[in-house]
Each structure stands twice: as structure tokens, then as C-alpha cells.
Symmetry: C5
Subunit: 309 residues, 5 copies
């Protein structure tokens, strides 16, 4: 499963398997639905996120104006056969009727605009776990800003969400993002140090699934703690390391801003080879005409068939 | 419905129709009352707001002293046949007796004075959704300051109000206003970027109705994100774009400070043509002698008859 | 009732009459007790406030040392036949026994010392509405600092107090005071702009009675919004205007720091002529020997007999 | 009782007598136990405080190392026959077994370290009134920082503590301390202005007993409000004034840092002559060998016999 | 037990014995399990902490990559026969199944990343005492940052945790760490002044067990209060002093960053001789190959057999 292991790969990576995990029944039911009854159905995940309207504003829809209509993503999630659509309450409550039950809902329960500075980033509630239950959701998504000066509020909120998830048997997906002035002074949000820390923190909170960005080398790497500067690593190893750090939490990698199709396919395949459980691709999907989005979805899903668990 | 569509009009606009929306029974009942049993009765809205006493202070009454007496607006709302009067608790609780049931109440449940700086704007509670239920209101109004550094408190409050609205079947009207130091550095509160973001954010929170200002070109446009600077648009297209961005939430446009009657009629007609569901005109109505206000109300309502849904 | 109406008097003033107001039974009972069963008994109010021990400290007692003993004010309120005594919990709970029921209690439920700066003024809770009920009080008093940067906390607290008052049928008296750095930059706390805004804000919160200072001309008037600078007004008109702005909320004017007896009588008579419901005089009463205080009380009450409602 | 009355002594001082006070039964029972069943038993109070471990840290134990062991103070309180021992939860819960019932417990329920700056002093909860009930305490102690910029939080907490005390019949002792940057700019924490204000504020909150420091003349006296600068006073008059300002709340004076035995005896006798109900002496007692502490305790108690009430 | 007592050792140290303490039944049961049914079983403690993933991030695992897998520490705790493993919720909930009941769980219920500055350190909740009960834990661990400017929030939280511990009979272990800008200006976090204060503060909160670092001499010692500068002390005396200051709370000393085996053994033996109840060694254990970690564990336990209680 890690055929390209580099010389610095010191840890064996095994994709977590649902049947091996010690989980409450409700989490087991819902995760089974997402992992084995939707998408490719082999234990991998392909998630369609449409929370950018809050995080970035409608600017993300300008390259493909039809994507501004929530119907676009709902149709794509159902017709493309995704494992889940990830969105906020308004988009679920006001558009689900036609699609209810045809694709699992991963209700994003916090968010923020990117208008004020990110120096003291904190994601703000848009819904509760109980709201997710009421909508028939199969998971909730919580953004944790690792290293932000407002981590105290973040921890308290995540703890309560985590407890509600335990109570309701609702799978918890943590968007684990290094963010804030302090992390920028220690290598930056995409550094290996930062993403590795993010993976561990979300895992320590008991996340069932952790969404990460693939670590990147950058011009602030010399600000990282020395031990991280000494590590030798490449794209594959970076992904593998943070997957391992996430322990028995499943890892989703994001796509980020739109890249070429070949780059996207390469990226997707590589992270799966390094132990990721799945992918969460938004702009790379819906910032293109609908039929092209369906095609690309099919290509990704074909690739995912090679990673059963 | 969009006869003046410009070259840059890329999206078709359809006014949301109550019967098509997936809503709890209570919201359906109350919205039906406002849309079809009051005002023109054809699915359009003409709302009389009298919350300026908090937002601006009694200064707004100086041009027409009798308007300082709450009886003025209550009489006007009833005799003019508005779809609703929008005001705070004190004005409702202490003046409604004579008018109870004769005009729907849209209870504004937060507000603030404009005395301190708006850099970190946050609207403060003046009533609860339960208070609105107790007053027999048909909707509540919540001001959201999009992009303010205090968005965290704003989101948390709106989420709770939204949940109460869902529980009580109370329609939620969001006054969605870009505000704060950060938005001023990115083009300003009336820029297309700002209003477009505001429309989406309120929609993502599940607002039934969104009150917006029509976007304007301004001397800070060069501070907007580049993609917004590249768009070609005029008044009609600006209105249409933000109506589209609001998805299946209905849009009300405000009148703002007083303009000439011809400008007001032109503005009102234009935004209706671009897909607005209605108008919320305060100072343009009550900053004039009572009989003139009644006349102008009648002219607006005559125009609205051309926009049934 | 407004015999001295000046040329700029544009609004007719009518003192609110209890029987005309739409109020819950408990408020009606308690207001009736204060307005018609105590004091002059003709619908006017003469209130004795003794909250200066918190607001200014015991410095206010230095001109008349016996006034430092709470018994002084309790005796004066009962023997002088005031409509109510206004004080905090400690003074009520520890001294009422002998006076219980002999004079209505207006329990002040927030306050602050004047030791730290007023730039971000916020009055802090000293008791709850339920405490007032337990003490057999006939009203509660809440200080609202209009225009303070901490208005958000103020609004939230006042809203909850207001709701408790509605629930328990407890009349709500709002001490509506412009305060904070922002209002000082817009003309100052005693400017017509500031007091007029304060009258409206308290009214919009549904106050039953509003305590105001009479607006004054000052050397910062040129900082007021232009429309207020253009107004022509004198003492009478200033009082009348803010009484009118308070709508059907009753208005109490305060006496402030001690003035000559003639000035005090003149001030009292004038504001009553302009539509005030009553007076709240503290230092002007108890900063003098007890017998003199009784005499002055009698003079004020004689004057109030001319303003029945 | 005030034989040394100076020319400026304008107020007669009468020590509050329990039987005359209007109190709930539980407070009466517990105060009776402290005042008449322990200590001298004549209505005076001698309290042993051992909260310095939080307020100053173990540095206070260095002059007399055995005093670092909580057993030292518990033994001294019981064997010396104090009216109460004042300490925090940990010292009570973990050491009381042997001493339970042999000396009343005055549970201190807030505190803070003196490590950060006092500019915005706020004392923090260490226990609740319900905890005090569970420990069989006869009173709770709350530190109020008069004039601190954080007075809002302080007031809110004290109000809730006060309400719990009323509910449970638990006597409330307020450590009323002027503190914070603002009071230092107005004469300082020990000035007559400051202590006088502190006495009044605690009294207005309904404190049963108020702990004060005796006011001192200092080099910042010229910063006090003018009226306080004009007063003529000495040590006796300072004590008498603040006792009078405390109304029918009983006053305890503290000993502060260690002084000579003669000074201590003189100080103790003097404040009792000026109307204090008792003394709260910590470091002056336990910063000496155990037997000496017992001796000094006996000397103080002998003196207290001269002040029955 | 203190054979190396120096000339400045003024206090006799006695290790607290469970049977002598006044504790609720549940605490007694759980402490008995940790002290006498696990580890050496003679009343000493050897705890394996694995909370560094939150406090420092995965950087601590780089010297020994297998230690990044939570299975490593769980196996070591069980096979090495520790008295307890200390970790956060996620590591307990997701990995305990195989190890449940084989080693006591000390659930760490707050934590923070070290990414932002420690100037205003505050540890944030990751779980509740009720969560610990649900996991069958035998103790909870709370980090208190002594001297931090945010001590108010810290105190409030610790008080509530302490009350829950009392209610559920859950032993409370306080990680008592001097931290924040203010303590750095008074000698630093490891100074005798700081650690001594920390020991007392945790004890005053009623901690059953207190985790301390051994005080160190440092180049900021001249910033300590004078009385601490005057003390003569060495490593032994430093340890003994803070153990004594902790009163009848048991003391655990930490190992800190990895040192040589001989230094570790020496340190461990010395602090036990000075009255510590046990050791909490993390990095010194798991930053080495598994078999070596087992060996060192055995060596430490052999030494602990000499300290029964």
C-alpha cells in the first residue's frame, strides 16, 4: 500500500478499517452508510464540499456561474454518486427535499467569512449536532484552527460537539487547519510541522475522520522547529507521515484551489497510496461545466476502486 | 421578467414562490399571510420599517416631526395596507392594541445605536423569537453584520434565532449588511463584492427573506478582489446578481435615505424587474406629510401589481 | 399644559395616562399604587433616590453627615410622603422592616462606582427582578448607558430584565443616560442630541417610565449632528422635546447636584409644564437638614397638585 | 464608646446588635453561633484568616516555617478559641475532620494570586455557597475589589453569592478592598476616600459583615476628591468614619503585615472603641511560635471583653 | 526518610498515607486501586503520561517514531505495570478496548498547543469529569497555570472540576505549573518561589495529587521576592520544601525532557527520599525502543519498592 516508500519512511501505514474500530452503534451505522453504501462502496470516501459560499463568498462561483445555484452541487452529488455532500444548514434545509436520502449529508456546523484577518482565527457555529440529527445527516463537520490564539474557545466548542456526537452516534469529521499569526511564525499553515500537529490534535480529540491538506515545502520552512527541518521528505512521505500521525482516525485530503486534471488525478492517487481513506474535492469539481464535473467524478471513482478496505 | 438583461447577465432569475419551498407549516402559514393576505396580495411585499429610532436616533424624525410619534407609522401601515410593519418590542407592545391583527408584525429582534464606531459592528438583542410569538408576529428580523470582526458572536446568535424560528414556525428575515473595518478595506459596504457575499451568507443560514441594499459602484472598487473588479455590471445587473446569489430566499431591497419620488419609483420598479420579492421603504415614506405618504404608498402598490408570483 | 410654548414647539405634548396604556395587570396594579395611592396621589410622581452611595460613594453625604445613615432617607420617604424610594438591595433588605409598605420601593437593580473611567460605561447588576418581587417592590430601576461601546451587554441585560418585568407584572423604570467616549465626541452627555436619543432608545425597549436629565446647551454643541445644531430651543422646549420623544412612556426628570431652592422649584415646575410625569430628587433633598428636607418636599408636592392626570 | 471623639467626629457610632437586625433565620442562627457561642462570646469577633497561601503564596510562612502546615492554624483556632477560622475549600475539606464543629468555619470563596498586576484586579471563585453549606460553615467570605475596571464581573458574582446566602441563610462577609489602577490615581487603596467608598459599597450589597483596612494618610492624598482633602481626621476618626459608613453591617478590621505587639494591641483596642465588631488577625498571630500565638490571642480576647454588645 | 536533610531543612516531611486522609468513598476506592493494586502496589505511583501530542505536537515522537502510535504507550503502560496511563479522551476512547481495566486511566481533561505565546497561558477543556466516569477512569488530570493573567478563568474551571470530582468520588490530579509573563518577571517558572507557590495553590484547591517540577536555580533568581533569595537550598531541599508545602496532597514529580539513565534514576530516588509519592515519566520512557523502555520501567519500580507507605 506504500509502494513508493522513501528512505525516511519509518512508519508502516495501515488504512483504518471500520470493523476494527471501537465505536458506538450509531457511528457504526452512519459510517457504514457513507463508506460502503455510497460512492464506490469499498470503504473509500469521495466527498463534495459546498461550504465555500461562507468561507470565501460567492467569488468562487464566478469561474462557473451555474455553480452559484445550490441545485448544481446537490445534483452533482446525487448523480455523481458521492459518498456525501458537505454543506451548511441553509443549503441542506432549503434544498434537500428532492435529494433526501439519495446522498448522505455531512452537515458542516461551523464556518466563518474570510473578510476579517485570520490572525486570531475561530470558526463560528452555524448549526448543532442536534440539527444534524433532525436533518437525517450521517456526519457533522467541525473546523478546528490549530494554533490559533483563540484555541481556548475552539477546544471548548469541539469538546461539546464531540460529546454530542458520542451521545447521538454521529460521526465527527474535523477540518483540522493550522491557522493564526503564531503558526505563520513557525513555518506557516502548510508546513509539515503544522499539518503534522493538526493531524495529532484532531486525533487526540477523538475525530472519526480528519480532513487535512497535504503538507508542502515552503520558504518559511526554516522557521519550523529544528527537528522538522532535519527531516527528509517529499510529497508522498509528507502525506504518509500525517496519515500515520492521525492514528486510527481516517484521513481525507482536500483538493484546494483548482489545478489541472492530470495534477488532480496524480494527487488523488498518491495520497490514497499513502493511506488516505478518501478525498474531499470541491472547486476542482464544480468550477467546471456540469458534464465535465460528472466525468471527472467518474475518473476519480474509478481510481478509488483500487483502494478497498 | 428581466427585460433589461445586459450582456454580462449570465444567470436567469426566478422569484421564489412560496408554494415551491420546503418549509415547516408555521412558516408557511405566516408567510402566506404576509404575501397573499396583506399588501397587494399577489406574493410581493411592501414593508414599513420603523427601527430607525434605535439605529439612527430621533434625528430621522426631524424632517417630519409628527413621524416621531409611533402612532404615525402604525396608522400608515394599516391605512396604507402594507404587508407588514417592522419595529422593535417597545413600539409593538405599547402601541399595537388598536392595530392588532390589522397589519402583520415583523418584530425586529436586534439593533444598535450608531453612536460608537462601526469598526467592530454587532447588533444587539432587543427581543426573542418567543417574544415575537407572544405578540402574534408573523416574522422576526435579525441584522447580520457580514465581515465584522465580531462575526463569531453574530453567527452564534443567528444560529439560535434560526433554530427558534424553525421550532416556532416563525419566518426569519435577515437584514444582511456588510459592515466593519475589514470590509471597508476590501471595497466597502455597498460594493458588489460585499453585497454579493452578504446575500450568500444569509442564504446559507437559511433565511426565508433577505434584506439587501442595491450594490453601488464606488471609489473603493479597486480594493475589491480582482475577479469582482473584472465584472461588467450596471444597476440592474447588480440587483439581479445579488437576487440570484440569494438562491431560493426572497429578497427585499431597502430604500435608504430619502430620494426624489421619481428616483424612488424607478428604483422600486427596477429591482422588482430583477427578481426582488419586495421593498422595505421607511424614510422615503414617513419623512413626508401623512397624506403624501399614503399617496406614495398607493403608487408603489400599483406598480407591484405587475409582479405577481 | 404648555402655556410657555415657544415658536419652535412643533409637537403637542400629552402626559401619558395610566388608564389609557395597554399593560399587564401586575404593572397596572403597581403603577396605580405609586401614582394614585402615594405622594400627591394625582398621577404625578415624586421619587427619592438613594443610590448615590454606589454611583458616587459616600462623598455625597459629606455636606450633610446624617444623610450617610440609610435611616435618614427611609424616614424622609415615609414622613415626606414620596411616591417611592429608589435604592439598592442592601438598603432595602437591611432597613425596610420598620417602613415596609409605608412607601413603595423602586428597587434599583444595577449600578457602578465612578472610580474607573466612563469611556466604556456599563452598569452592573446588584439585584434581579425576582429579588424585587421578593421585597414587595412596586418597580425596578435599570440604568442604560446610551451610546457606550459596551451597549451590546447593556441591551442583552435590559432585554432580559424587560422580559422578567413583563412576566412578573413589574413596572420598569429606565435611567436612560448618554455615556461613553463616543457620545462625548458627538456633543456630550447632556446635549439635546444625546438626551433625545436616550429618550427614544428607552422607549423602544418598552420602558414604563424613563428617567432623563433636562438637555443643556454646551460648548460641544457644534459636535452634534448638523440637524440638531440647526434647531432653535430653550430649556422649556428641550424638556418638551424629549418628553415627546419618550412617546407614551412616562418621564421623570432628575435634579442632579444641589441648586438653590428657587432654581429647583422653577426647574420642577417647568418640566411638569412640559409634560413630565414627575421628579426624582435626591441630593437636592437630603443634602440639607432633615426638617428643611421635609419642608422642601412639601413645597414640591404642593406644586405637583397642579398637574393631575 | 467613643471617648476620644475629635472635633470632626460628626456622627454617633453604635455597634450593630444581632437581635436588632432583620435577618433570615439561618443567618441569625449562624451569626449567633459565631458571635455568642465562640471566642469571647460577648458579640465581638476574633477571626483567624489563613488565605494568604493563595493571596501571597507560601512566602508568608517563611518567618515561621511550622505555619506552612495547615494543622498549625486549625489548632490555633481551636485551642485559642477564635470565633472562626477563615480559609479556602482545600484547607477546610482536607483538614477539618479532627476540628469539625470545634471552631466555626468562615469559608473564603474567592481569591487570587498576587503574581499578575493588580491594575484590573478581580478575585476568582474557589468555592460556592453550596460548598460552604456542605462543609457546615457558618459564613462565607467574598473579596470585592472596589473601583477595579473589572467591577462588572465582580458585581455580578457578588450578587449571585448574596442571593445564595439569602437562600441558604448563610452570613456574608465581604472583604471590601479598593484596588486597581483607577483608585491609585484617586488617592490610593488605603486613603480615606477609598476605604469609605468600600465600606458603603459592601453595605449597599447587603453584607452582614465587612472587612476593612483602617484608612491611612498617604502621599497621594492630594489626588483624592477635594471634599475628602478638606476633612480633618486622625486614626481614630478614620476608623470611626468607615464604621459609620458601613451602617448596620458589622465591621472587622484586619491586622495587615506584622507589627509590634504593642502596636497591635493599641490598634485593636482603638478600632473596637470606634465601633468595630471585631478583628481579623492572621500574620500577626501565626508568624510567631505557637505558644506566643496563643498568648497574644489571649491578650486580644481579654481586651475584647470590654466591648460587649 | 530524609537522611540527606541539609542545615536549612526546617520542616519534617511525611508522605501522606491514604488511610489517614478524609476522603469520599469513591476517591478512596479509586486511589486505592492506583496506589495498591497497580504498579509496585506499595502506595507509590509511577504514571505514564502521553499528552505531549497536544502540548508539544508529534515533534516529541521524532526521536522514536514508533512512539507516535498510541498503541505503543498503551502496551507499555500495561506490560510495564504502571499505576496509571495519563492521556486525553481521544487516545482513551479509541484505543482502550484491548487494554480496558488492565491499567488505571488518569484522564487528562484539559490541554493546549504550545503554538501561541504562553504569556497568558490557559489550558483548555478536552473532556469533562463525567466523560472520565463514562470511561471507567480512576482519576482526572487538570493543568493549572499558576500566576497567569488568565487565572480567573482557570480558577473558575478548576473549582467546577473539583466539585464534580467530589460529587463522583473521582480523584483530582493537578498539574500545577507556574506560567505566564508575570511569573517570568519574578524569577521564572522553575524558580523555588514559583514552584512553592504552585504547590500551595493546588493544595488550597483540594487536589488529591499534585504534579510538580523540581525547582531549579536559575539566572533569574534575583527577580524572586527577597525572602526566597535569602534561602539556602540544594536539589534535595528544593524537592523537600515543595513536598511539604503541598501538605497532605500527594506529590508527583515529572521527568521533563529526556536525560541520561543515571541522571533519571538519581533524580527519581532523590525526590522519593524527599517525600514524593511518585513519578510521572513520559519522554524519558517512550523516547527509546520498546524493550529499553520496559527495562527502565523495571528499574524505577525496583527503586520504588524502597518507599512503601
Amino acid at each position: 500500500m506504500t509502494p513508493n516508500g522513501t528512505a525516511t519512511a519509518e512508519r508502516a501505514v495501515a488504512r483504518p478499517v471500520l470493523a476494527d474500530l471501537d465505536l458506538p452503534a450509531g457511528k457504526r451505522v452512519r459510517l457504514h452508510r457513507m463508506l460502503y453504501e455510497h460512492g464506490v462502496g469499498n470503504g473509500t470516501l469521495l466527498i463534495l464540499p459546498i461550504d465555500q459560499g461562507i468561507e470565501h463568498g460567492p467569488i468562487d462561483f464566478l469561474p462557473n456561474p451555474p455553480s452559484a445555484d445550490p441545485e448544481y452541487q446537490w445534483r452533482l452529488a446525487v448523480e455523481g454518486g458521492y459518498n456525501a455532500i458537505a454543506c451548511h444548514w441553509g443549503m441542506a434545509r432549503r434544498y434537500m427535499k428532492k435529494y433526501a436520502g439519495k446522498v448522505p449529508l455531512l452537515l458542516k456546523i461551523n464556518g466563518k467569512t474570510n473578510i476579517p484577518s485570520d490572525d486570531e482565527a475561530l470558526s463560528s457555529p452555524t448549526a448543532t449536532v442536534a440539527d444534524a440529527v433532525a436533518l437525517g445527516a450521517d456526519a457533522v463537520g467541525y473546523t478546528l484552527y490549530v494554533g490559533s490564539p483563540r484555541q481556548d474557545e475552539d477546544f471548548r466548542r469541539l469538546m461539546r460537539v464531540r460529546d454530542d456526537c458520542e451521545k447521538y452516534g454521529m460521526p465527527l469529521v474535523v477540518w483540522s487547519y493550522p491557522r493564526g499569526a503564531a503558526i505563520e511564525e513557525k513555518g506557516g499553515r502548510d508546513s509539515l510541522y503544522a499539518v503534522d500537529y493538526a493531524a495529532r490534535l484532531a486525533h487526540e480529540f477523538g475525530a472519526d475522520i480528519i480532513k487535512l491538506n497535504v503538507p508542502k515545502k515552503g520558504d518559511k520552512d526554516s522557521l519550523m522547529p529544528e527537528k522538522y527541518q532535519e527531516l527528509e521528505w517529499d510529497y508522498e512521505e509528507g502525506a504518509r507521515r500525517v496519515v500515520a500521525t492521525a492514528g486510527n482516525s481516517m484521513v481525507l485530503f482536500s483538493g484546494g484551489s483548482k489545478v489541472s486534471d492530470e495534477d488532480l488525478m496524480h494527487k488523488a492517487r498518491t495520497v490514497m497510496e499513502q493511506g488516505a481513506t478518501g478525498l474531499i474535492f470541491g472547486r476542482n469539481m464544480w468550477q467546471r461545466p456540469y458534464e465535465e464535473a460528472l466525468d471527472m467524478t467518474a475518473r476519480i471513482k474509478e481510481m478509488l476502486q483500487r483502494f478497498p478496505s
